[in-house]
Amino acid sequence: MILAFVEHESGLPDELSLEALSLARELATAEGVDLGAAVFGDEGAALADELGPYGVEEIHHVTHDELGGYAPEAWGESLAQLADEIESGTVVVPGSDRGHEVAAHAGATLDAPMATNCVAVEVDDAGVYELERHRWGGSLLEHARLEGDRKLVSAAEHEFPVQSADEEAVPTATEFTPSLEADHLRVRVDRVESGDEEGIPLGEARVVVGGGRGVGGPEDYDQLEELADLLGGTVGASRAAINEGWRPHDDQVGQTGAKISPDIYLACGISGAVQHMVGCKGAETILAINTDPEAAIIQKADWAVVGDLHEVVPELNDAIREQT
């Protein structure tokens, strides 16, 4: 059996988990085995109706008196025990923070190898996985072999489209109660504090105005803020600008920052380093404003203006204001 770890919000599976199910189903088909899902939390049992369309044949609802909130080690340990119990050779997780954390713990318990951020997996006759996975946040691909009786893989974000199965399944639902010790529960979410959110979060904005080192100082972001406001968007920044202390880290777009997918990304004074581009490659359109016609971003953008952002952006703001 291929066992997929499915995250959910109040009984509705999350998007990255559904993507991971696409990979898990491919593997189950290739290996000619059943597809099972491990779900945690009180509302997990409600997932039976939700997961049938994705070809999930067995739902394993992991329950335990001590497993109320999220507890990484206990969840990973439980997932590993479940994989043992149902003799699952492969565990598939979403390429999310939790997916990776739970899988790392499960991998430690099972003493099994784990390949993260996979974008394609082929199974050969001997059951070895020939796979491709992201490196450098997705600016490189690695071809690798993953071998062993037990394996873990994570599906890279947004690489496997959510697809329902050719044949809908009617999953059986079983409860699984792991045997947990106090040590497994040393780490658990103590409390959740809500943030003081202002404006549109980067990940959700339709328009992002990005500013890099070319902006030149913190005060000049005012022009970019104004442009973002006029277009109903929000401001992002390159790592260089954040290292200068001009913007808070939350604004960072890139490999170690936010991954954005706006309708348009206006990249102002940004060179287009690979680590920046992996953060904004999800943008529908990129328009670059840069003084250097040779800048990498000009190769990668859809539209470009060669010029000084300090001259272009204020005029653009005036022109938009006049129009509206």
Partner: protein
């Protein structure tokens, strides 16, 4: 309080990544090397915790002789000690890396240095295996929290915060513990020229790593630079004269105006 920060040497890639002819690694001859950003923050955090609570900050890397450059960066940032687990430069599987780090931590404890806190990057910039920290923790029997963007130590407890959509999860963990950090937890300091000179004179302990992976393997075969659409942008014009063209794009092509 003794804090260990574990870092990895990676190529300092720029706008374009070129691979070596055998497709085994990035051709770094024109790029130079750096440490992954999350790990630079792990060092900074180690130093700040020691500044706040006393004790010593230690940096460790598993890598070739040349990785002493990254250890010296750590020393220049004011880490007290550095250890190189010296390899021939070949890539180690995450499980073998974790095993080698755990063994080194045990060895240092035998020699009298016990760590209260082990900090690692959440994932390395190149391989992003997301598991070395957890595997080190599990091998040493320590609690572990990943992806932390804020850390406070009060007495024997680490209060660690992780960003989730709309807020933060707060974890309270007894020390000793392993915490993997993300960029944004702090702003790594720039080392002064003088600190860099002093760091050159500090001793670096070299140990032969002993680390093995359990059953099964994850083996790199080759790297590939994916095709990118570098079909150059449509240049709308030069400077402010192109404002009408930008408006046109915003209005008709993207329809955000």
């Amino acid at each position: 309080m003794n804090v260990l920060a574990c870092v990895k040497r990676v190529p300092n890639t720029g706008a374009k990544i070129v691979l070596t002819d055998d497709n085994q690694r990035i051709d770094a001859s024109n790029l130079g090397f750096t440490m992954s950003p999350h790990e630079e923050c792990a060092i900074e955090e180690a130093i700040q915790q020691v500044e706040a609570h006393g004790g010593s900050a230690h940096v460790l890397t598993l890598g070739p002789e040349e990785a002493t450059e990254q250890l010296r960066t750590g020393l220049a940032m004011q880490a007290d000690e550095a250890t190189l687990l010296e390899t021939d430069g070949s890539e180690w599987e995450p499980r073998a890396t974790a095993d080698a780090i755990a063994n080194a931590v045990r060895g240092l404890a035998d020699d009298g240095t016990e760590f209260d806190l082990l900090l690692l990057g959440n994932e390395s910039a190149d391989a992003a295996n997301y598991q070395v920290g957890v595997r080190v923790a599990r091998e040493l029997g320590l609690p572990c929290v990943m992806g932390i963007k804020s850390l406070d130590v009060e007495d024997d407890t680490a209060i660690a915060r992780r960003e989730i959509s709309g807020g933060e999860e707060v974890y309270e963990v007894d020390l000793p513990a392993v915490i993997t950090v993300k960029e944004g937890i702090n702003e790594p300091r720039y080392a002064s020229m003088r600190a860099k000179m002093q760091a050159r004179k500090k001793a670096i302990e070299r140990l032969e790593p002993s680390g093995a992976a359990g059953p099964g393997t994850l083996e790199k075969i080759r790297l590939e630079a994916p095709e990118t659409d570098d079909s150059a942008a449509d240049v709308l014009g030069d400077g402010p004269d192109s404002v009408p063209e930008i408006i046109e794009v915003l209005e008709s092509e993207v329809e955000v105006l």
